[in-house]
Amino acid sequence: MSWETTIGLEIHVQLSTKTKLFSGASTQFGSNPNTQVDYVDLGLPGVLPVPNREAFNKAIMFGLATNSTINSISFFDRKNYFYPDLPKGYQITQMNKPIVENGEIAIYVDNKEKIINITRAHLEEDAGKSVHDLFDGKTGVDLNRAGTPLLEIVSEPEISSPEEAVAYFKAIHQLVTYLDICDGNMSQGSMRCDVNVSIKKPEDTELGTRAELKNINSFRFIDRAIRHEVNRQIKLLEKGEKIVQETRLYDSDKNETRSMRSKEAANDYRYFPEPDLLPIVIDQNEINEIKNNMPELPKAKVSRYIDVFNLDEADAKIIATSKEMSKMFETAAAESMNPQLAARWLIGEVNALLNKDNVLLSESKLEINNFSALIIRINDETISGKIAKTVLEKIWETGDTVDSIIESEGLVQIKDSGLIEEICNKVVSDNPDQVAAYRAGKDKLFGFFVGQVMKESKGKANPKNVNEVLKKLLS
């Protein structure tokens, strides 16, 4: 039986403001517990939240970059529940009217574009952290994170595979780092996501019952968690059982999801408008000012790459989607004067390595200057394309510079025509049968001779020169 998967993502993006959403305390990561907490974060009696406009601005930037509606008026609400790391007993969030609505973002799977619609993006404060393993039989509470601004980005349920989910998460990651509204540091929890998964038969018009997978913070885990959850649901349905609407936790150690709470047991959060805060009012002038100060967005970059560098639209889009990749491209294009070559290498070899390891460019050992150097060395024919692949793989593993790898491995391309002729002569005299066959009209054998020469030269011979010499010798 075949099943269709429907996935929606809720991504929590920690906005990189200096201070918290409603207090002047610092948001820096990694300080001693409870040292970045002021009266507001502690939920002391009588203190009041004061909103941080910087967070509003960052949310607006996200809205602009995703073609969203920026609501000229939006509201904060309270979400009420008890937990020790939630000092006020409620979280200030936006339930009824978020700051950003109705946007879209493009994702690429197998270099094909798909548009995913964004339902909404709203501002809210983060909770603190409960520490369960530090004190025997007791739970510690660290409120350093309490009140850190989050932008929760909710997608429409339009994602239909784990690959697309990962691509969407990556696209959001790339965009928010592009805009510099989030540091994108996944291991520090700067981006986390909840995944809603359901399956249905192709002929069904309504979506199946969904499960929500909570708090996933890596690309790899999204992929694995979804695969696992889809299999679980298929097994249940094929046994004739029902899916229960519930929240499930993905355990990355055991690679399984398990139930946290069912819908019936779900909290009633008693949302209501936050009476301590005025509505967020944003006028067009503010939006225009933010627009004017935004970094160049992928869309504008794409047109520039097509116009200035003569790239294909598809290639331009792939490069421009990532801030890191476009920086890498622009640097290499400028320094090597060969944008086409730089683009080809990014889209081909670099992308393949990224996909193989499921990492982001920023997480890899390939640095901008090193990539530039690689393209320069290919362009000035110090190394051949084939050697360059080996060099790139080395960089990928060690992060060493291009020139040091070329030197230590002795990979400089042989362009010395005497040396090349010598090798060619050897290959021709070692293979008299093939020479005879070639001369008798078996043109295809030319490739064989080139291959032999490259083998002899350990790939270092300049292919162009080899072609010329061989043609002469064999004619």
């Binding site: 009266y39 502690l42 939920g43 002391l44 009696p45 009588g46 203190v47 009041l48 939240p49 004061v50 909103p51 309270r78 009420n80 008890f82 020790p84 000092p87 006020k88 007993g89 409620y90 739970t139 509470v141 009633d268 008693r270 949302y271 209501f272 009476p275 301590d276 805060l277 005025l278």
Partner: protein, 483 residues
């Protein structure tokens, strides 16, 4: 020489005449506090802090209006390094590291904060019987309640211990005790005074204000309490006038509204008579009495008892035994840390309102209760806006009757809630309103409420002051009895 029953203005004259120094004023104040211990008006005294501030003023030649004036602060305002209980066991050990903006403003103006006054727990009550620290007694008759929730502040002023006190008013908590204790009390426009450092009951309704022996003193206090405060985004960034400026201007030709929909026939007839004589007094001063319609005013009490508990249920969630305040000894897991701390830490009335609030906000009831109440609130506000197109102020009795005996209503929440029948509408509409002494029934004070238009405290104070300089109800005191 006694300072008992002196107004701020009189004390200021004494200070400027060198009849008394700030330190001597404090000596007498603390003696009065001691003599009136049975009123139970104070929870905590601030001798050290107030004497320190007084000593710095002792050598002054001239005293500005509030410099060196002893004042009592409602125990709902956070005061740095001074126990702040909000009338609750829950905060019986809470010492804030900061001072509320309203109090800071008064202290900057030279007021000496002598102590924290008793109050209904978390300001929920109209009789001061819900305080964890015991009932406050009405100085006019100690068997009677002083009103609430600012009952300690009202009793301290009525007993002449201090010339003034701070209060807060969510549904009448300044005006109702002012009325029951025969003093003047003003709830300003919502947003006039910063709420920062005021322990929240219902955020969209809470407003601080002055309580004093005279309208003029209220104006002096209001001048200092108001400020635009960046720490409270709901505080208003508007010009603050000198509220004493037009106190003495005549009220001839002022249009004074009476609300058609207030059905006085069901009231205590002494209250009605008293109200009619107040109207006569205003007419004598040249004001014109005009009937206005506030069609939705009868919905005020039910509307209030949805919105206020809803906000309170959320505002009081922070008292959970985890971070500060009372924590139960009876803990086996997280859930009963919460349950037992809150069960043992809160009193019955607070629990009742948390339950009401939790109910009206819960899924499935939100639209029927909370949302509807917000819509009605908007209608009431619109009604007032329309009425104020025709009149300068609106007057009514402050309460349905004079102070009642302790225990007589505490078993009947509905009767208690109706205490605020006349005061709640101004909170819902965010309007300034004050209560001033208007006479007596069986030797117990009655009050006249004056409601003003948005930000128009000046006219409210002007009408009140004109009334006061032509009457002497405010000059009576419990020691000499009603003359």
């Amino acid at each position: 020489m006694t300072i008992q029953y002196k107004s701020i203005k009189e004390l200021n004259e004494m200070l400027n005449n060198k009849d008394i120094s700030p330190t001597e004023l404090l000596d007498e104040t603390f003696q009065l506090i001691d003599e009136h211990k049975d009123l139970n008006a104070f929870v905590t005294l601030n001798k050290e802090g107030s004497y320190k501030a007084a000593k710095e003023l002792d050598s002054k030649d001239a005293f500005s209006s509030l410099e060196g004036i002893p004042i009592a602060q409602k125990d709902l305002f956070c005061t740095k390094d001074i126990l702040t209980t909000c009338g609750s066991k829950m905060l019986s050990n809470f010492v804030p590291p900061y001072t509320a903006t309203a109090i800071e403003n008064l202290e900057k103006a030279g007021c000496l904060s002598v102590g924290k006054t008793n109050m209904d727990e978390f300001a929920m009550g109209s009789s001061n019987e819900t305080s964890f620290y015991g009932n406050v007694l009405n100085p006019w008759n100690k068997d009677f309640v002083p009103g609430g929730s600012s009952g300690g502040s009202a009793a301290a002023v009525a007993a002449g211990i201090v010339a003034a006190a701070s209060g807060t008013d969510t549904g009448g908590s300044i005006r109702q005790p002012a009325s029951l204790c025969g003093i003047s009390g003003l709830k300003p426009t919502y947003g006039r005074i910063s709420r920062w450092g005021m322990i929240a009951f219902a955020s969209s309704l809470d407003q601080a204000g002055p309580m004093a022996r005279t309208v003029e003193d209220c104006a002096l206090l209001l001048n200092e309490m108001c400020s635009y405060d960046k720490k409270d985004t709901t505080s208003l960034n508007v010009e603050i006038p000198d509220f004493t400026h037009n106190l003495n201007n005549e009220i001839k030709n002022k249009k004074i509204g009476i609300v058609k929909e207030f059905d006085l026939s069901k009231l205590d007839q002494n209250v009605v008579k008293n109200f009619e004589s107040s109207l006569d007094q205003l007419k004598k001063l040249g004001a014109e009495i005009v009937e206005v319609s506030i069609p939705n005013i009868s919905l005020s009490v039910p509307t209030y008892y949805v919105i206020a508990p809803a906000e309170c249920s959320s505002n009081l969630s922070r008292y959970d035994g985890v971070k500060y305040g009372f924590r139960t000894d009876n803990i086996t897991d997280l859930e009963n840390l919460y349950i037992n701390s809150r069960t043992e830490g809160f009193g019955e009335e607070v629990k009742r309102r948390i339950l009401i609030g939790t109910y009206v906000l819960s899924a499935g009831f939100y639209d029927a209760y909370y949302k509807k109440a917000q819509q009605v609130r908007r209608l009431i506000k619109n009604d007032f806006d329309n009425a104020f197109k025709e009149v300068d102020v609106i007057v009514s009795p402050t309460t349905r009757g004079p102070a009642f005996a302790a225990g007589s209503k505490s078993g009947d929440p509905i009767q208690m809630y109706l205490e605020d029948l006349f005061t709640i509408p101004a909170n819902l509409a965010g309007l300034p309103a004050m209560s001033i002494p208007s006479g007596f029934e069986n030797n117990m004070p009655l009050g006249l409420q004056i409601i003003g238009n948005h930000l128009d405290e000046s006219t409210v104070l002007q009408v009140g002051h004109n009334f006061q300089v032509n009457t002497d109800f405010h000059n009576q005191n419990p020691s000499k009895g009603v003359s």
